[in-house]
Symmetry: C2
Subunit: 227 residues, 2 copies
């Protein structure tokens, strides 16, 4: 997929390829490793795209990150996991994570938008065969939901490990795209009588709800009180 457009990365940046350089709004694109990681680490669900019988499928799924590796998991019987079986050449995927940060209200309908931060990863996902890497990946998936949680839960047993397939996707062909700031109306629209600005979207946590069968002597852990 590399073309003449491909570049050698600067320190701390991902390389660019023909498909990570957007045709539109390329000033919004970034290949900064820290930015990419922060966008990935701050979301709970990614949208995993793959091709099945020639048609696209976009599956919302949990994920975890260990350095420059992303992991997704699923039942060994699920479609994408079977398609990326150990003896197969891997599954071509596009994994996208998006945060919507604000609603951008311009005076013109045309310039309405949202402020967002997204990451798109292209690559081949492959099943993890090494048991150590699989355990590390599963810990990362749990710690992605709540940091520190993998130390405070029962680790997967042999039966669960056998039933779970883990796919690895290396962060190599990857880009971030972000929009920030206010509306960008055309100069000739500035005198129009419409309110214009940004409505921020906020995200937070409600009070944790203990399971019905939780032993009441088990205290809520510190890693939840700091959420």
């Amino acid at each position: 997929m590399e073309t003449a457009m491909a570049t050698t990365p600067a320190d701390g940046a991902y390389r660019t390829t023909e498909r990570t350089v957007p045709t539109r709004a390329s000033e919004r694109a970034s290949y900064d490793r820290d930015l990419v990681h922060s966008i990935l680490d701050g979301a709970y669900v990614c949208h995993l795209g793959f091709v099945r019988d020639g048609a696209p499928v976009v599956l919302p799924t949990l994920y975890g990150r260990v350095g420059d590796r992303l992991y997704v998991h699923g039942s060994t019987g699920s479609r994408p996991l079977r398609m990326a079986g150990r003896d197969e050449p891997g599954l071509e995927v596009c994994l996208t994570v998006t945060h919507v940060d604000g609603l951008v209200l311009a005076r013109s309908a045309f310039h309405h938008s949202v402020n967002y931060r997204s990451v798109m990863v292209h690559g081949t996902a492959r099943q993890v065969a090494d048991p150590e890497e699989k355990r590390t990946a599963l810990d990362a998936l749990v710690d992605h939901v709540v940091p520190g949680r993998s130390y405070d839960s029962r680790q997967a047993n042999a039966r669960e490990l056998a039933a779970t397939a883990v796919l690895r996707l290396d962060l190599d062909e990857v880009s971030a795209k972000c929009r920030t700031g206010g509306p960008s109306d055309d100069p000739e629209d500035r005198s129009l009588p419409h309110w214009t600005g940004v409505v921020p979207l906020t995200h937070g946590y409600g009070t944790p709800i203990p399971a019905n069968d939780l032993d009441p002597t088990v205290a809520m852990p510190d890693y939840l009180s700091v959420l």
Copy 2:
């Protein structure tokens, strides 16, 4: 794509097809029209999957709904819009919308999950050629961001209409999938000493931020104060 599994829909339900019946956790699937619409109407961004040069692409993008039609838009120069050009047979897509409602902490790492509501739409997206339908679609896209906003902004002019392509995707092969409720630990794990329950995720709106060049005599509209 229809197989023997396909069914005639009940009143108010979408038909099922081989690819809208999940192979995993099928008890979480629903074809209820009202549920599908409410999930679609409550999110700002969808993830649009299509195939380009044989590889999947998953693009976050705004959308609007008019009855059983979804609309996405973009520059006439953007990749998916060009690929679904008026003279083409259309673009095979999978459009997915996901809400994450809570973090599900089980005693076992294996049963960690999130509560979510998602909709997946399969179909062929086609460029809208009819000018009236295009205007309706663009209004729906703006009103999806803030209901009522299309009446309080300058409508697209001829130049903007010419620069904007709109794709229509009919809601026909569509399903919802939801997880609700607490963790589902195995009975033999119930005496483990780990806290277990659900951490709800909350979503809201911050105080609207007026654009730098907003005339201070323009009041904030009512449709923003009720957000």
